[in-house]
């Protein structure tokens, strides 16, 4: 059973990783306290649902449609709610992001109702993949793991191999200096938001499909967990995001599987671990803290 539980943890962890990769770009690299990430994730799920239900798209088309819609939404959020706040206390971004989240969650409730709804039929049947006698996994979870790996790969390639990736990091550290290097900071930030949001929406679609449910407030808790993962890993670190997500998934799965009657629940345990790790390594698992006085 332990092995099955660990596997459950890993697949749960990959859900968190998938949600967190987008945030790793925006919060981890750009250092923008982006509290509307969870909402973008929700927008993605709804966009795919709307594409399939109202425009009768195939699942694959709807998936791409969702990426585009969320990417655009993310760019709009940055444009409207964050860009005017550059150079002010980062907490203002956080508040503005919370405002956006409240607005969109309620707008979606008006548009789609607050009920949980089922994800449209995708044509993908859930089947069980047996890894051994007692260990198994559903195929949808395998897709999530694959998508998580793909997301991480994309992030890595983007940050490490492209000019723009380097420019993003530079812009995050010093926007003025970056613009003096000829970086169009606004464009770079927009692109980052587009990619980060598209990744969030990929997560939203896959999760909604896997659990066959979506509702306007679905992003709230995953959004917070994603923050937890990004911080746990040490802002902006790719291995950190993977390890952070896995730790969170495995901890939750083990506490679900083996513990009962605790004074705090599993979400709290996840944060407890986060705090303990930060106390030991104040800059996160893979974070570097350098200060020169």
């Amino acid at each position: 059973m332990l092995i099955q539980q660990l596997l459950n943890g890993v697949s749960l962890g990959f859900i968190y990783i998938l949600i967190a990769v987008g945030l790793t770009m925006v919060y981890g690299v750009l250092k923008l306290l982006h509290f509307a990430h969870g909402v973008i994730y929700m927008v993605g799920a709804f966009a795919a649902m709307a594409g399939m239900t109202y425009f009768h798209m195939y699942f694959a088309v709807a998936f791409l449609f969702a990426l585009a819609v969320s990417g655009a939404a993310g760019m709009a959020v940055e444009r409207i709610a964050y860009r005017p706040l550059r150079g002010v206390h980062p907490i203002t971004t956080l508040i503005s992001g919370i405002g956006v989240a409240i607005f969109l969650e309620n707008a979606f409730q008006v548009a789609f109702g607050s009920d949980t709804r089922a994800f449209p039929e995708t044509g993908i049947d859930v089947s069980i993949v047996r890894l051994s006698e007692s260990v198994s996994l559903t195929n949808t979870k395998l897709y999530i793991i694959t998508a998580g790996l793909a997301g991480i790969g994309l992030l890595y390639a983007f940050l490490k191999l492209t000019r723009l990736g380097l420019a993003i990091q530079a812009a995050a550290q010093d926007m003025r200096a970056a613009s003096l290097m000829g970086v169009n900071v606004n464009r770079v930030v927009s692109v980052t938001f587009f990619l980060g949001s598209a990744l969030a929406s990929a997560a939203g679609v896959l999760v909604a499909m896997n659990f066959n449910s979506l509702y306007p407030t679905m992003g709230a808790i995953p959004g917070l967990k994603a923050f937890c993962v990004v911080v746990l890993g040490g802002l902006g670190s790719i291995p950190g995001t993977i390890v952070g997500g896995l730790i969170l998934g495995i901890v939750e799965s083990l506490s679900d599987g083996f513990m009962t009657g605790m004074v705090v629940d599993k979400d709290a345990i996840a944060f407890l671990i986060l705090i303990v790790i930060l106390l030991i390594k104040p800059s996160g698992l893979f974070g570097k803290n350098i200060e020169k006085v």
């Binding site: 000019r163 380097l166 420019a167 990091q169 530079a170 550290q173 010093d174 003025r176 200096a177 970056a178 613009s179 003096l180 290097m181 000829g182 970086v183 169009n184 900071v185 570097k288 350098i290 200060e291 020169k292």
Partner: protein, 236 residues
């Protein structure tokens, strides 16, 4: 190649630069000197599009006032900003690569230019993988200059490049300025070390309280009394 006419810059109610007119011709080294708070940094920030300003700034015959910074940089102006502003969490090498951002250079070209910079500042070559932010003050200054050179600019603006550098490096840097000038690079140099600045410059402007009070060839400025007294530490 750079023509500034009647430039005015204000910070709220503070009128920091008043009616400044200044030209830098192709191939020249022009220096801008003046005491603390005279408005030198403000002037060059306005050139780079970092501050809203009134008046006109033309570069290569085209007006650039009001353009976003990155467009100005793409047009061939590079600046070593006051306070150096290197990217603290990028390595030395990445900082240099960022310098070439506006150029879209090929890999081999980049490598060649990087070697050139490492040649100018061997310390940087020793520290390729160190985080910019942990370099010593002087090392950061070298990195900032190196980074600006990576852009292969047509016009290089240096805001107090010698600040915080050991004498041996200062001399190297002024040697560098002479060298690159020989290669046809145009330079606008802001310096507190007026003696040094005037020794490499063709012409100089003296800024006081936001206004140009003198401008002349470097040779003649050096011998002017007021300049001597205020900026060269001539005995009073």
């Amino acid at each position: 190649m750079l023509h500034i006419r009647n430039l005015h810059v204000s910070y709220g109610s503070i009128h920091a630069v008043r009616d400044v007119s200044l030209t830098v011709e192709e191939g020249e080294v022009v220096t801008l000197i003046g005491s603390n708070g005279a408005g030198k940094t403000t002037t060059v920030n306005a050139i780079c599009g970092a501050l809203p300003a009134k008046g006109s700034i033309e570069y290569g015959g085209k007006p650039i006032l009001g353009l976003p910074t990155h467009r100005i940089v793409e047009a061939g102006i590079a600046m070593v900003a006051e306070g150096r502003r290197i990217f603290p969490k990028l390595t030395v090498e990445q900082n240099l690569r960022m310098g070439a951002f506006s150029r879209r250079a090929s890999r081999s070209e980049l490598a060649r230019d990087m070697e050139y910079v490492y040649g100018l500042f061997p310390r940087l070559a020793e520290r390729k993988r160190q985080m910019g932010g942990t370099m010593s003050g002087g090392e950061q200054q070298m990195l900032a200059i190196g980074r600006a050179l990576m852009a292969k600019p047509k016009l290089l603006i240096l805001d107090e490049p010698s600040m915080g550098l050991a004498p041996i490096v200062v001399r190297d840097i002024f040697d560098t300025i002479r060298t690159i000038r020989g290669q046809g690079l145009t330079t606008l140099l802001i310096e507190q070390n007026a003696a040094m600045a005037l020794s490499v410059a063709d012409r100089g402007y003296v800024l006081e309280h936001g206004e140009i009070v003198h401008h002349d060839t470097a040779e003649r400025l050096k011998s002017q009394d007021i300049v001597k007294k205020a900026y060269l530490g001539g005995s009073a």
